[in-house]
């Protein structure tokens, strides 16, 4: 461009670059970047994908912040090193620019020194740790870093930033266990009735969920939103039921009660219960399955022959309900303890459910949930009627049951105490009407604890007792991991989280890792947890996004050496020793999968791959992540392993070498990111097209994505189970019961009792256990009183900020302000009036561990006993947002073992007091 052109503002070059946004778990969403004179100026949809992408090629509001993200003057634009050896919130890090050579050599020397000592330290823990942000989204931006980490070997992913325990955690674990559903979704394109317990899909489901639910509203589906506040999703629902916080299991138990006791089995989906679930399995009086004495197979009663037979006996008609005499049987308890029975009465698992739910009437639930019994009963009846049991749908020539009802769960309902009960009850509600993994019902969208991630159907294989195979962490006397190998103890304490590498580990009880760095519980008889000698952090800010964030920041300050891939300074990398500026969203290339393997509602009519494209040159000295990863590998002597991992396909989509193709990289070409992604593009298209097409990076730069059709039959798991003659492990939880007992045996043999409360979650059928009371008791145990902290504080999300780590983006701040309370403290207007709090008053929200401050937003759409804060704020280091005062639940919600459930998760809820800040100052 000439000087004259520049002066006149003339556009001498312009292009529109296809790319994607994956700033939250609801990606990828297509987009285009308008680039004028080499500068990104505008984001817009990519209409080339309007028939491929479920959201018609449109990204959500967050993507429109990417121009500002690129040119934000607060970016870190050169490697920096810390000059102040002291670390802490009150210690200026004194970050000073250094060269890339100095930064990378410093890290490489550390890595080589660590390797020389051994990658595992004296406590049996990895010397290197890594923390990545929300729900795996950083992997869509970190290029080939996974290849470097895999080449290194053991890495501890224990230090979560919220993902792992503040996500929909129990849903992840139990969802995969019951139906290979890392995330559980309504089959929205076919659903007619959706009971949503806090699932805020209009905010967190991305454009795909937004358009699907909008379409569903127009065609007349009904969604009932059960949630303490009138969130965006509640606002867009046909009915809002303002339930008392954390009492959702009681509501769901009452729904089950209405179905199984007021309607009865004749009104339910008997073929589904009979053939696809363990409802017919007979239970002994001791709560274990009655089994064949010779084969140990669970028994059931065959109505056709009138005999008790093994579950896999062909040509039988199992009885779903009732009690049946069994002449001879055994049960198998924890540690293979067998008990023999003769002439015993066994009741079916379904019958046990019916008996168990007797006391959970809508009238009982009404008292707990603060919802009229008539409302609960009506919703149950509407659900059953809408299930239209007997109706079918034809999909691609195959006739399947159509069960257009779904119960969906949101964060803090499906994580923390009570979440097991909610996940179980939701899945049972689907089971009762045959809506589990059938059209119109609930379905899973991907797997992470099981393999392969790209196709959950392939993870379905026969396992024990006629169920799918499971990969639990072992709990046997000789197989249990008696000494933790990660700082969050995931293999030792949480059998169900499994052993599928980084994902299983990252889904462990990550708050334990943070807490036990400082103090271990009484009865800890393992080596004191060590600090990781080197900690990598990327797109992760646990000092804002976890609980008790000030305490966490001080814990992070004690880590000996932290390397942060840094966009701006933030509250976590304030403790870093090195900051490395990576090329951000619009500045680098990366090919990822789309459709089928993603979260939320990302079941598409296509599968394929999409390129995140370098639309503009990186700002300053920011470098392509794949270049950084390659240089780390080269300088630390790991290049061969790095190349091997790349060729395995770890940072791509397919192996780079197959039977009919060879795009394998060597050590030299692996250093060039363009060559890496060119090979990945080619391998992906050859694989997807089964050898018919081969497209390199240049093709993708022009076209953006490559897709092939995917039958909707692939959305549903039930036909896959049917083909293999398998049953869902529902409604009774004999295996979990046994696992819990075995875990208890191991822990108690080692005189570990601080996890005993968590062991109570392992039951055959869950009972109500005063879930909110757990938080109340925790408060009292900490020396507080309910009178002193009379309100519940909850957190929820906004689309503008949801998991994008974009608090530094001014545009998001501006547009989010159009939503009432989006950046404030939401309080019921009548409650506020009683407290003398007016709109926009500065308020103090205080829990027993501290206070947070913000502006009051008075609304009518929240329970009088509940305060709500949207987002995760209270920044003190991140430029731009630190200059605003935004309250955050995270500042004042405690980390505690007491509030950790058996899966290792907690929930965003805490008892608080609220008052005008001027009154607080005067007190």
């Amino acid at each position: 461009m000439s000087a004259a052109d520049k002066a006149s503002g003339a556009v001498t070059s312009a292009k529109s670059v296809p790319s994607f946004c994956y700033n939250c778990v609801s990606g990828p969403d297509f987009l285009r970047v308008k680039v004028e004179n080499g500068i990104a100026t505008e984001i817009g949809p990519n209409f080339d994908g309007d028939r491929i992408h479920p959201a018609r090629g449109r990204p959500c509001v967050k993507a429109y912040g990417l121009v500002q993200k690129t040119y934000n003057p607060n970016r870190i634009l050169t490697p920096m090193k810390r000059t102040n050896p002291k670390k802490g919130m009150k210690e200026d890090p004194g970050f000073t620019p250094i060269s890339w050579d100095e930064a990378l050599d410093t890290i490489a020397e550390k890595l080589k020194a660590i390797r020389a000592k051994g990658v595992i330290d004296e406590a049996g823990l990895p010397r290197i740790a890594a923390s990545f942000g929300h729900g795996g989204t950083p992997s869509n931006y970190m290029g080939t870093l996974p290849a470097f980490l895999a080449a290194w070997g053991p890495v501890d992913y224990s230090f979560g930033s919220g993902q792992g325990v503040k996500c929909v955690h129990s849903e992840h674990l139990y969802g995969e266990f019951w139906h290979r559903a890392f995330t559980v979704s309504a089959d929205t394109p076919h659903t007619r009735y959706n009971i949503s317990f806090g699932a805020n899909v209009e905010v967190t489901g991305g454009p795909t969920a937004v358009i699907r639910h909008a379409d569903a509203r127009i065609r007349g589906y009904k969604r009932v939103q059960v949630e303490p506040s009138l969130t965006i999703t509640a606002a867009c629902s046909a009915e809002w039921v303002p339930i008392r916080p954390k009492t959702d299991p009681a509501f769901m138990f009452a729904l089950i009660h209405v179905l199984v006791r007021e309607h009865g089995v004749e009104k339910l989906d008997i073929p589904f219960l009979r053939d696809r679930t363990a409802s017919p399995y007979l239970l002994a009086p001791n709560g274990l399955y009655l089994r064949d004495p010779d084969t140990s197979k669970p028994l059931l009663f065959d109505e056709a022959s009138g005999r008790v037979v093994a579950h896999d006996t062909p040509d039988v008609r199992p009885a779903v309900a009732g009690r049946h005499k069994v002449a001879r049987a055994i049960t198998v308890d924890a540690d293979a303890a067998r008990q023999e029975f003769a002439d015993v009465e066994g009741r079916t698992a379904y019958q046990a459910l019916v008996d168990h739910m007797e006391r959970y009437t809508p009238e009982w639930a009404s008292q707990i949930c603060d919802v009229p019994a008539d409302t609960i009963r009506r919703i149950a009846n509407e659900y059953l009627e809408a299930a239209s049991i007997g109706e079918t749908i034809e999909i691609d020539g195959v006739t399947l049951p159509l069960r257009p009802v779904a119960v969906t769960l949101g964060k803090s309902v499906n994580n923390g105490w009570g979440a097991f009960e909610c996940c179980w009850a939701r899945t049972v509600l689907a089971m009762l009407v045959g809506a589990l993994e059938n059209p119109g019902g609930i379905l899973g969208t991907t797997v992470r604890i099981n393999k392969p991630q790209e196709n959950r159907h392939m993870s379905v294989k026969p396992g024990d007792d006629g169920f799918m195979i499971q990969y639990f962490n072992p709990t046997g006397p000789n197989s249990w991991e008696a000494q933790p190998t990660t700082r969050n103890l995931h293999r030792t304490m949480v059998p169900i989280v499994g052993r599928n590498g980084g994902w299983s580990q990252a889904l462990g009880p990550t708050q334990l890792a943070w807490m036990f760095q400082e103090e271990t519980p009484e009865g800890w008889n393992w080596p004191k947890p060590t600090y990781p000698e080197l900690w990598f952090v990327y797109r992760s800010n646990p000092a804002i996004s976890f609980w008790e964030t000030r305490r966490l920041a001080e814990a992070a300050a004690k880590f000996p050496f932290m390397v942060a891939f840094a966009y701006t300074v933030d509250e976590t990398n304030y403790m870093a020793d090195l900051l490395l500026p990576e090329a951000t969203d619009l500045e680098s290339n990366q090919l990822i999968r789309m459709g089928q393997t993603k979260y939320m509602e990302h079941f598409w009519d296509h599968i394929g791959v999409v390129l995140r494209q370098k639309a503009v040159e990186p700002q300053g000295e920011a470098r392509d992540f794949s270049w950084i990863a390659a240089e780390l590998a080269r300088r630390s002597g790991l290049i061969d392993g790095y190349v091997a991992q790349l060729n395995r396909g770890i940072s791509g989509v397919s192996p780079l070498k197959g039977e009919t193709y060879d795009f394998a990289l060597d050590a030299q070409s692996a250093l060039d990111p363009d060559k890496v992604w060119d090979a990945v593009c080619k391998a992906a298209t050859v694989t997807l097209s089964q050898g018919k097409e081969c497209h390199g990076l240049d093709w993708f730069k022009e076209h953006g994505f490559y897709a092939i059709p995917q039958s909707r039959l692939g959305w549903y798991l039930t036909p896959t189970l049917e083909k293999q003659g398998l049953r869902y492990e529902l409604p009774y939880q004999e295996r979990l019961l046994r696992l819990g007992r075995e875990l208890g045996n191991r822990l108690h043999e080692n005189e570990i009792h601080w996890w005993d409360e968590q062991l109570t979650e392992y039951v055959g059928l869950p009972d109500w256990h005063d879930v909110p009371g757990r938080w109340e008791r925790a408060l009292v145990n900490a020396g507080g009183s309910l009178e002193e902290f009379p309100f519940w504080l909850l957190a929820t999300k906004s689309m503008q900020y949801h998991s994008g780590g974009n608090a530094a983006i001014a545009l998001m701040d501006e547009v989010s302000e159009n939503l009432h309370g989006a950046t404030g403290v939401i309080i019921n207007d009548k409650t506020a009036e009683k407290l003398g709090i007016g709109e926009n008053d500065r308020v103090e929200v205080r829990s027993h561990i501290g206070a947070t401050y913000g502006r009051a937003a008075l609304v009518k759409g929240v329970r009088p006993d509940t305060i709500v804060i949207i987002g995760q704020f209270d920044h003190w280091a991140t430029p731009y947002i630190k200059d605003t005062e935004r309250a955050s639940l995270n500042t004042i919600a405690p980390m505690s073992v007491e509030l950790t459930d058996a899966t290792g998760s907690g929930a965003d809820i805490v008892r608080v007091a609220i008052r005008r800040a001027d009154k607080a100052a005067a007190a």
Binding site: T41, F47, Y64, I232, P242, M812, G861
Partner: protein, 223 residues
Amino acid sequence: MSAQVNQDKRYVMAIDLRRCVGCQTCTAACKNANATPPGVQWRRVLDIETGEFPDVQRTFMPVGCMHCANPPCMHVCPTTATKLRADGLVTIDYDICIGCANCVMACPYDARSIQHIAKYAYGVPMKSEEARFEPERLGVATKCTFCKDRIDLAAKTGQTPGVDPEVTPACVNSCISDAMHFGDIKDPNSNVSKLLAKTEHFRMHEELGTDPSIYYILDGEEA
């Protein structure tokens, strides 16, 4: 009385309130497309709460310039900077506007802004802001143009606004819930004409006689 007669075309927007989720994607897309400075929103989505706990409703309502056929802003403009085009678009000629703010006061939709000094998202101009800075917008009234340049392009290319994305307003293109539609209401076969023929709808402050060009759909089948 309408200020405009014998229009061949009249571009309007039809927004289905059942679909809108208040996500502000249109707000952000407009700011991207039109490079409006911080605090100036030609398009935004209102968040409206009604009722009393527990019977409360919350509605999201995209608003902006209504491109009235009888625009109060035009009537009060002392310099004729505000005009009504034959296709229904209300425009502002920045060369003529003196920034008196009469129009800002007269507009019943709070759709107009005047900025007297340059403002940047982070205080100092970013490259993207420098590249798109338009000094002629300082000291004058600005508002939603229905992405006028795109409409004008359609006249040259023969494309159809509201159908072809290249000639459709950015907010409509961006809408992730498919709530926003755009087209020529004078054409009985246009997408908006068909949609409005089948649905119940209203216009904001219709009683003021402004004859606004944004229709809000409340119920009924889609075309």
